[in-house]
């Protein structure tokens, strides 16, 4: 009964000053974000029960790239530092976790920790060498660094050279003993790691540190004048991004039980960049969605276009930059504010 009264909000506002209930459609609007969130959790949580093995593997890959895309978005969108060589951190993570699995332990979590440490250390070196100067030097150095890492992977014997490195299937604590198919355990494992990464990054961008990142992006001089060390703030962001991207790389090698130098080409860095820009560099969720979407798009188009799928990627990239500069996240924000402002939902 209250519902029928409140569906005419204009009349009730005009008629009586005592408006007690919000209109039904505004209650619906308030309920939408949690509903949408619940729906997404339901879909992702039940994916192994209704997706075929191939699609589940693609989704797993998408989530892995999602973690790396979020790590890159932290740099590009929040700190204002574009990196053209994030495949370097992917590669370092993949090879360090892979070598650990070959030589020492197949415990997946130990591999992740090692990858994070290696990624952060490498990022610290790249950052220390380039961040005192202009942002362009960071961009150029990341590009060069990625090529160095790729050449080492190709030329060295301990990395398996061009053939890459085959590693044993990882032992995933708790999950490996369940007897579920490998593709399913790997899915749960990747989902859990990416979810932790998402939470960590969400906490970071909302924290005082996250606000300092945005401050450094928008106005480094002002930040220095109120006592922030711009170099230190940027360096920490680069290290966090490097560490999480390396964790993503470790997930890749654990999922595929193989890593080859082809994963470290500039294409990989560009793909990450496109994922971030398509999703929206200033939104973690956007970067994640962009990555999952791009991986599915690549898997569908490359099955009948082969290498020409890069053309699709290129066209998409140009279109997004031109028509949708804030990416999917920007589009979602526009839609949200339209819904909030007027008309029944």
């Amino acid at each position: 009964m209250t519902g029928t009264v409140s569906t005419t909000p204009a009349a009730s506002v005009a008629g009586s000053p005592a408006v007690t209930l919000p209109p039904a459609h505004s209650r619906l609007r308030a309920a939408l974000p949690p509903l949408a969130f619940g729906l997404v959790v339901l879909i992702i949580g039940t994916a192994p029960y209704w997706l075929d093995a191939y699609s589940l593997d693609v989704l797993t890959l998408g989530l892995t790239y999602g973690l790396m895309a979020m790590a890159l978005a932290l740099l590009i969108g929040f700190t204002g530092l574009p990196s053209l060589g994030h495949s370097a951190f992917l590669g370092l993570g993949a090879y360090s976790a892979g070598l650990l699995a070959v030589h020492t332990t197949d415990n997946a979590l130990v591999g992740l920790v090692l990858a994070a440490v290696v990624g952060a250390a490498a990022a610290a070196v790249v950052g220390a060498l380039s961040l005192r100067t202009h942002g362009v030097f960071f961009l150029m150095l990341t590009l060069a660094f990625a090529e160095i890492i790729r050449q080492i992977a190709i030329k060295s014997s301990f990395t398996g050279g061009d053939n890459g490195l085959s590693v044993p299937a990882p032992h995933i604590p708790l999950l490996s003993s369940t007897g579920l198919p490998q593709v399913v355990t790997v899915y749960w494992y990747v989902l859990a790691v990416v979810a932790v990464g998402y939470v960590v990054l969400s906490v970071v961008v909302r924290s005082p540190f996250g606000k300092a990142l945005v401050g450094v992006r928008d106005n480094p001089h002002r930040m220095a004048a109120i006592g922030y060390s711009v170099v230190t703030v940027r360096l920490r962001a680069v290290m966090l991004s490097g560490a999480l991207t390396a964790v993503g790389g470790a997930l890749l090698v654990q999922k595929d039980t193989l890593v080859a130098p082809t994963a470290l080409t500039p294409d990989a860095s560009v793909l990450l960049l496109v994922m971030v820009l398509v999703g929206g560099a200033r939104s973690l969720t956007g970067a994640l969605v962009g990555a999952v979407g791009m991986v599915f798009l690549r898997s569908f188009t490359s099955s009948w276009l082969g290498e020409a799928w890069l053309l699709v990627e290129g066209v998409l990239f140009v279109s997004v930059v031109y028509f949708m500069p804030s990416g999917l996240a920007g589009l979602a924000a526009t839609v949200r504010s339209r819904i909030r402002r007027g008309g029944p939902a």
């Binding site: 906490v203 970071v204 924290s207 005082p208 540190f209 606000k211 300092a212 401050g215 928008d218 106005n219 001089h221 002002r222 930040m223 220095a224 004048a225 109120i226 006592g227 922030y228 060390s229 711009v230 230190t232 703030v233 920490r236």
Partner: protein, 260 residues
């Protein structure tokens, strides 16, 4: 009001210079600002005022001489280190985060000053202190009514006031104002003068200013720069009546115009 000559020197510039190739933007300037003093630097366009100012703030490094703050040599210290050592500044062109509210802008400065600038969370017990300091600073510059408004919606004068609030965070020893009344209406500029006059004498103020009315109503001492060199220094009355200063400002100023 006489300048506190007997007070300890807070800022000492000793033969400070900044050269770009063969061009001396600031040339062998020695200057002492005592604690509590209001010191104005004036001079025609291209005299090197802003360069000198950036040498004090640490935005630029000197190519010769020394900068001593509170007895400590900060010649090699970067901008943020000097800010932490007690130098607050405003910018010639308002430099604020326009998509954030006044309170958020000030909070960014306050968080840094209470050691939480790059923390992952503000501890519950620090929240009250943070909010109190932000509200205090905003009240001191008379922006309480606008605390929750976006900086983008503020007038030019209000932005200048907000700059002062950010510069005052963490109780700096030295406040630097870079042409604070540039582009202000006469009433805004009068309000700004009163704001500076109301600052406690525990603060030392160094300002660059074009508006000589503001200079003469605020400053205890005035330094005149021309072509990067210190031309004359003294109390406002002396500067006001100096034939040398008048010549630089009104007379054969053409040489200076080209040195930007």
């Amino acid at each position: 009001m006489t300048p506190p000559e007997t007070a300890a020197p807070l800022l000492q510039l000793q033969g400070v210079g900044k050269s770009y190739g063969g061009f001396h933007a600031v040339d062998d300037v020695s200057l002492t600002v005592h604690a509590g003093e209001r010191h104005a630097v004036i001079g025609p366009n291209g005299a090197g005022k802003t360069t000198l100012f950036n040498l004090v703030a640490g935005t630029l490094r000197v190519t010769s001489g020394r900068v001593v703050l509170n007895g400590r040599d900060v010649t090699r210290a970067g901008e943020h280190s000097r800010a932490r050592a007690g130098v607050g500044r405003t910018f010639q062109h308002s430099s604020l985060f326009t998509t954030q509210t006044c309170a958020e802008n000030v909070a960014l400065a306050v968080r840094r000053c209470i050691g939480l600038g790059t923390s992952l969370r503000v501890p519950t017990k620090a929240r009250g202190e943070l909010a109190r300091q932000v509200a205090d600073l905003i009240e001191r510059v008379g922006l309480t009514d606008r605390a929750g408004d976006l900086v983008g919606d503020l007038s030019h004068g209000e932005r200048r006031q907000l700059e002062v609030a950010m510069a005052l965070a963490g109780d700096p020893a030295l406040l630097l104002f870079d042409e604070p009344t540039a582009g202000m209406s006469p009433s805004e500029s009068g309000q700004f003068t009163r704001l500076v006059q109301a600052l406690p004498r525990t603060l030392t103020v160094l300002l660059i200013e074009h508006d000589l009315d503001v200079v003469f109503s605020v400053a205890d001492r005035v330094s005149v720069l021309a072509t990067g060199r210190l031309l004359e220094q003294g109390p406002p009355e002396q500067i006001r009546n100096s034939p040398q200063v008048e010549a630089v400002y009104l007379g054969t100023g053409h040489d200076e115009v080209f040195i930007a």
